[in-house]
Point group: D2
Chain length 506, copies 4
């Protein structure tokens, strides 16, 4: 059966053809395109509602059976790409209802909307959509973190310069840098997974925004649709539209910030001037006029795309900000924002993972740079304080004198107990004596970094611990994702079984 | 001729198939879709460059003729929807070049890019696109303002309540309210038209970002493409990418703010509680469950859509913020933002114009509301001060006493010289005498508003002057738009004539 | 002892007077003003570090004792308003160190900074500050929710119109409306309290950003300062600066959105046209020219102030966005943003609580408005469907016919079984029979709303359940706040005891 | 005379002490602090209004004289820091009125507010404040551009690497880079100066928002206050509040973006790895632990501070977005945003000017870097095309072959006609012959850059032209600023003369 185009929303039946013409042309046009993504959810929602009406004996078994059969048919048609929404019916809800009315007559099809409104339907569809996307994106984050962790494991001894004010400072290792990124993404993953549970409450049954006098069972419909529980307040539920989406987008904004900052650093660290890493050339392009360029196009495009999120949250805030309690059509326009942000993030994540997990460290250059700038001066000063029995501030003066007064020309490699002693006399007027063994490991960044083993520091044993901790957490999140997926699948299967039972009873 | 799919960007010729694979998949995919809108501009830009090369004798006439012929062909194919860009060639620039190389061989087609880079090409395409869209949107604004003005003309005597703190206050007329809106949109129109001149400078010839040693003539190419003049500095021009777009979007954001505030007011003024206006039912919908609703869906969707602009500017700022001088691929992602914002504004404006120019004032209700709340108290106080020879602050006390101490029950209609006199005694201990004629017109908002004839006020003679002033300005802007359109058309015709001449010479 | 003004940062000792002059003038000026709020925290942090160094035997007992004594003195001076930071020393950290060096000489005072950097100090100070403020604001939220709940309790039978598209729709109760707000604020409270645990990890010991080779015990210092645990990664910790603040501000932004939307509604609902509530006149002002106005100034100022938060988050994002890993001075400028947002929220909350918990419902007007617009049509249609044995869509047609074809003039009060029967014939050609008892409660919003008892609906028994649920949760949060406060206090007491012991040992 | 604290706003006279208590405490507190900056403007505004009332014969000469004398006194007191606003009177307007009432009695002082409202007063004060600040900031911009231009002049031959994708690309000169910045700041200056004329329209006389029936002369008051003309529409004028401020802040946001991007580049170009410039050490600091660091603190703080502006515009948009026409108290909160943004910009500009005009180019390193990466390949390819008679795309292949197939090891310095010939055979199978003289200048960036003399390019003759053009424009803007300052001063003097005349007449 094909839905004819000569069709009306209910509210226009018997009214002038002009009534709402622009509203449909301008306002509904884009909406039905987006609603196409909701057809499966919409059918499941209607099924759950019908199954519940039946259990509550609000509707008779024959009608239930027909409606459920029709809904199954729509799901099937949609999977085959053959249930195309038409804008004259404004949205997925009316398209589905109209299909059933055409198929079974208004005496039967007209029961579909008993005790259910377009409002609670779209709220429920949206949450089901968000649930699925949250899990998909979480899975990508798991892969990203696992990739970073693996790369870190291979680089716990790879010295790397650290930067403060973008000047070479305390040395790191590449493994330490990679695990720092992993921790940021763990935060993001944790926030996003936690948000699943916020989203996973069922709005179905709030009707427009103020419930109904029908004896509906919201616990049952919620359960049939895999939700943890029904939302606790009908008006509050309606007013969450847009805010719920904004919160997810804000979490994405933090994730995007981490991606952007990482892209910035990699683009910088792979310049001709820094040359600390090399990007896998899967992700670079050449110049069309300058043949030997390897341009970080992919990184730049990801970086640019990541600027979408916080502004999108601002956009949603502006939309919601002016709205009074209850339903307002403005909220419908939160849908394209939600869809777009999810799409951009979902597409970027695997590419980003590819980039950061295939970076090739330029070990020689990293070690060389890590020694620039007397980068380990703070450690030397601490060591002189501890071993030489002077205060840190005195030791700092000694180090400063060594560097600024020409005792050392280029680096701490030149440092000897004698030089220290002389510099100390000049700097603090004291006779400072340390042994060669006290300072042997404080002449090169590559050695010094291995000693920085305070909790969380770059020393290999610390990074190993971090890798372990990250693995533990990631595995735990990974299991959570799988569990949630399973529970959703299980609920859906159960619902479809119930549907089949009720169909077969007739 | 069909462009085959087995094709490479130049930088990948002779390189591994993996080189840049992800860059093309991830980064170029969306780009070519958007670049499709640039094919005509791209061809014109290349034509102008070739004509100039010829005039400068940098290239020989046969090659020029062939390239120009090929470019004409591409324009024709594109108009017929048959020049579909392929993503393996990354962008419109390489698609066009490759077409010519395939058609005429590398010895001829390979001359296309002599002294021109993808950078200056895209900068020029973008400005040509922006020019056209600025004019189209300006025209819509002219229509909007003309519509408002016409509606105002019909309503210079229609009393309307004014609001402060959203409480009924000094009375207005509906014509006054409509002209206030017109003035805001005039500002927007003025800003957008002025911005045309900023955009209308030609980037062609800056090459990548630092010019070339070829003796190119940027004045000529600029003229051939209808620009006022070339941009003055190559690096500065490159760095304007993104910022130029952001500025336009910011102007749209102010326009959008005016639209949003107007939608807010209309939605409010048409509630059951206010009922000051009625919206034409072209723009409203009915409730699917509550049959007598007339919901302002179209207004709400416009309002929501208008939340796009300032956040989009923030997005562009974030993109550009991290970029060093010169070209960065991030800037390519400013294109979808620009396209989307222009589309949303272009679609909304005519609908918005329809809504605000067909509002039906509910005159009785407006007059009733305008009298609420002793709204004309300030005028009464002024009048008592002037006519009674007491200071304003004393007169204010008298009015306050009349209202708060029960001299007047409901409105100033009850006010008499006697009551005033008594209230004055109580309030300021003075014997205040005014005549009935002094106060006759200060008892009703509908009369009082006609007297508020200070410059810019709601009195009919003032509003008439405003309508005239708005008309004058709008006409002037309208002429500017037409002039600019003509100049662009003329330049294009001239370019195409030159092209034809050079083709025929061979 | 007074700190003289002729003083230098360490890095300028022995350098030209010009070195860093502008840096200090421009950059440090505001910083020390803000740092004044950190003096207590800074001293505690230094104490914890010194106690730890002693336990680890890194420093000798005499020096420890002196430093601790000096730090206690600073805390005392600061409490008396007598430890004023000077900008030549740039920040609280150097001011404290310099004080101790002046007091005890560089041989002793110079030990203060052994194994601790300004970076980890300021990160720790900031988190301690945030902890305290989070708890204070959470407490205000508890009071707000309790107030709303109490007001709701008194209004579970107060009928109130509900709105969709800002038109009167399904009826609510005032208690239902108030509990909806309470649920939003519960979300905010929940998010903010959860965030306490994220913040409550100790950065101390990450040194600049890459740890140290000194055998410091970060678990111990974390515990002494009341933190749950140390942060797990030094570089990651450094890079959280700004983002940590942004996350809190984002939570405030959602809270602010709820406050703004509530203010909007109240300002609207108290207009002359709506008159659903009255605002306590503690919060309104009069007009200086129009005496009988009661302007909602306080509400408007709160509403305006609540626009601060999301933009402030954008500001922090922009700041952090460009920064490479490690310390960058930009991050210092996150401090005024954090301080300001917290101040604005802390000041607004009690006033907001006052406003919303003292609203006086205008019951007569609310009931009248709730009946406008055939607001209960959806319930009537459902009832006709269920009782009349017709489908919902048929019932909807019957209702529509009653309203639009003149069967009912003004409201459902006129509805009788006879009218229904006639309308049904006209609308669906069926003989629809219902009894008067079936429809008796579906003629007035005030009766109908009592029946809307689906889970989360406005029926009194539902709202009572919500009130209970809100109370339970609020009490639980309240206990969490108290527990956290106690734990912080206990840790501080323990630290001060340890300090005193170590002082007395000498 | 001292204003006592036991004082009331007018609207509270005779009302309960509770009326508006919180409104004053919460809402007025901050306002009077900010209003302190408006006292001078407020007095001038009142003077202009009184002079006009007198000329229109609306008020008698004795009263006028007294009020004007009182206003002069207030101006004097305020200049001496002795007219301190008290919050119980809410704002500057009521403080001034109350002072005059106390001084001259209500019979005289009570005339101050005749035909003038707090609304049009604050709108006028704000525009006068904005005018002054716009001129001050414009002057700073003139200095900045002049400084950049002068630095450019000294560096038109200083070779500097250009970057695309942050990789070394076409060479520039330092003078070219500096003039690029100058052009951006010229745009900003141009926008800000143009905005002066938008701001410079007088709102005085719109009364609350709907004018008055008094025969006031808005042209006269506008002229007396130095405005170009009165605003054309009273309601429109009222609704511009906030938007007017937002527009200025948006212009600042673009300026701030240019500053941020410049700071980013300088911080990058002064890293140990790039070392292209040196920052004057006035603006850097040393490390407290790493003695040889020269940290760009001042640049980082400026960069961070520049993140204020666009978010502040978002904040104002959010504030205004929800407001209906007419006055709303929310708009008062735009004042702190305006004040703060202006302050931050005004303080940053001179420091920024200092930094960018004292940069010390590291010429050797710049030249070396400019040759990296075969940066001049595009010019070489163009030259081979033109001189060798092959197409650009063929020439590009030859260059690619030279670089990628080992004909050249490190740079184009090794390029000879023979090598070119061999590479051409391999690359395109042609016998390509060029002379040594054809390529002599295409072996080094330093030579090649001098040839890039297309309009706007880096060749010295081009940069000289730009410097001239920038000078011309800057001088013109500079004259505009001076003219505007003079006109404001002249208007003020004229007003004060009129005031004195009217005082002396009595």
């Amino acid at each position: 059966m094909k839905i004819s185009k000569n069709i009306n929303p209910y509210w226009r039946e018997g009214e002038s053809k002009d009534f709402g013409r622009e509203a449909i042309e301008y306002a509904a046009g884009q909406d039905v395109l987006l609603d196409q993504a909701f057809v499966q959810y919409e059918c499941l929602v209607n099924m759950a509602h019908q199954v519940m009406l039946r259990k509550q004996k609000i509707i008779n078994p024959e009608i239930t059976a027909k409606l459920l059969k029709g809904l199954k048919r729509i799901m099937f048609l949609d999977q085959a790409g053959k249930f195309i929404l038409i804008k004259e019916l404004e949205d997925v809800h009316s398209n589905v209802e109209q299909y059933l009315i055409r198929k079974y007559g208004i005496e039967t099809g007209g029961y579909l909307r008993l005790g259910i409104a377009r409002n609670d339907q779209v709220y429920t569809d949206t949450r089901m959509y968000m649930r699925d996307k949250i899990l998909a994106i979480s899975l990508e984050l798991v892969k990203l973190i696992e990739g970073l962790n693996k790369a870190a494991e291979a680089n716990i001894y790879t010295v790397m310069p650290g930067y403060t004010h973008l000047r070479v400072s305390q040395p790191l290792t590449f493994g330490h840098w990679l695990t720092a990124k992993a921790f940021h993404f763990l935060d993001d993953l944790s926030n996003i997974i936690k948000y699943f549970d916020i989203v996973n409450q069922c709005p179905l049954g709030i009707f427009e925004m103020a419930g109904t006098h029908l004896p509906i069972d919201r616990n049952l419909t919620g359960k049939l649709l895999g939700f943890n529980k029904p939302t606790p307040h009908s008006l509050y539920t309606a007013d969450l539209r847009g805010e719920l989406e904004a919160k997810l987008i804000v979490e994405f904004a933090f994730l995007a910030l981490h991606i952007r900052r990482t892209m910035n650093e990699i683009i910088l660290f792979t310049t001709n001037e820094f040359e600390l890493f090399k990007i896998d050339n899967l992700y670079t392009t050449g110049g069309t006029a300058q043949p030997n360029l390897e341009n970080p196009d992919t990184l730049e495009v990801i970086r640019a795309n990541m600027a979408l999120f916080l502004p999108s949250a601002v956009q949603l805030f502006m939309m919601m900000d002016v709205l009074s309690s209850g339903y307002n059509r403005d909220s419908q326009q939160t849908k394209p924002v939600l869809f777009n942000t999810i799409k951009v993030m979902a597409e970027a994540l695997p590419v980003f993972t590819g980039i950061v997990t295939t970076l090739k460290p330029n070990k020689k250059q990293m070690e060389k740079q890590a020694n620039l700038n007397f980068s380990i001066a703070p450690s030397v000063a601490i060591q002189l304080s501890v071993k030489g029995g002077i205060s840190f501030r005195e030791a700092h003066r000694v180090v400063k004198t060594m560097i600024r007064e020409g005792f050392l020309k280029k680096s701490f490699l030149e440092m000897t107990p004698g030089i220290i002693s002389e510099a100390a006399k000049e700097a603090i007027g004291k006779d400072l004596r340390v042994n060669e063994t006290d300072i042997a490991e404080f002449k090169e960044a590559g050695k010094c970094v291995l000693l920085q083993d305070s909790l969380g520091g770059p020393a290999p044993q610390q990074v190993r611990k971090m890798i372990k901790a990250i693995n533990l957490k990631t595995n735990s999140f990974s299991r959570q994702i799988t569990d949630k997926e399973k529970r959703l699948k299980k609920a859906e299967n159960y619902l479809l079984q119930e549907v089949n039972k009720l169909i077969m009873l007739n």
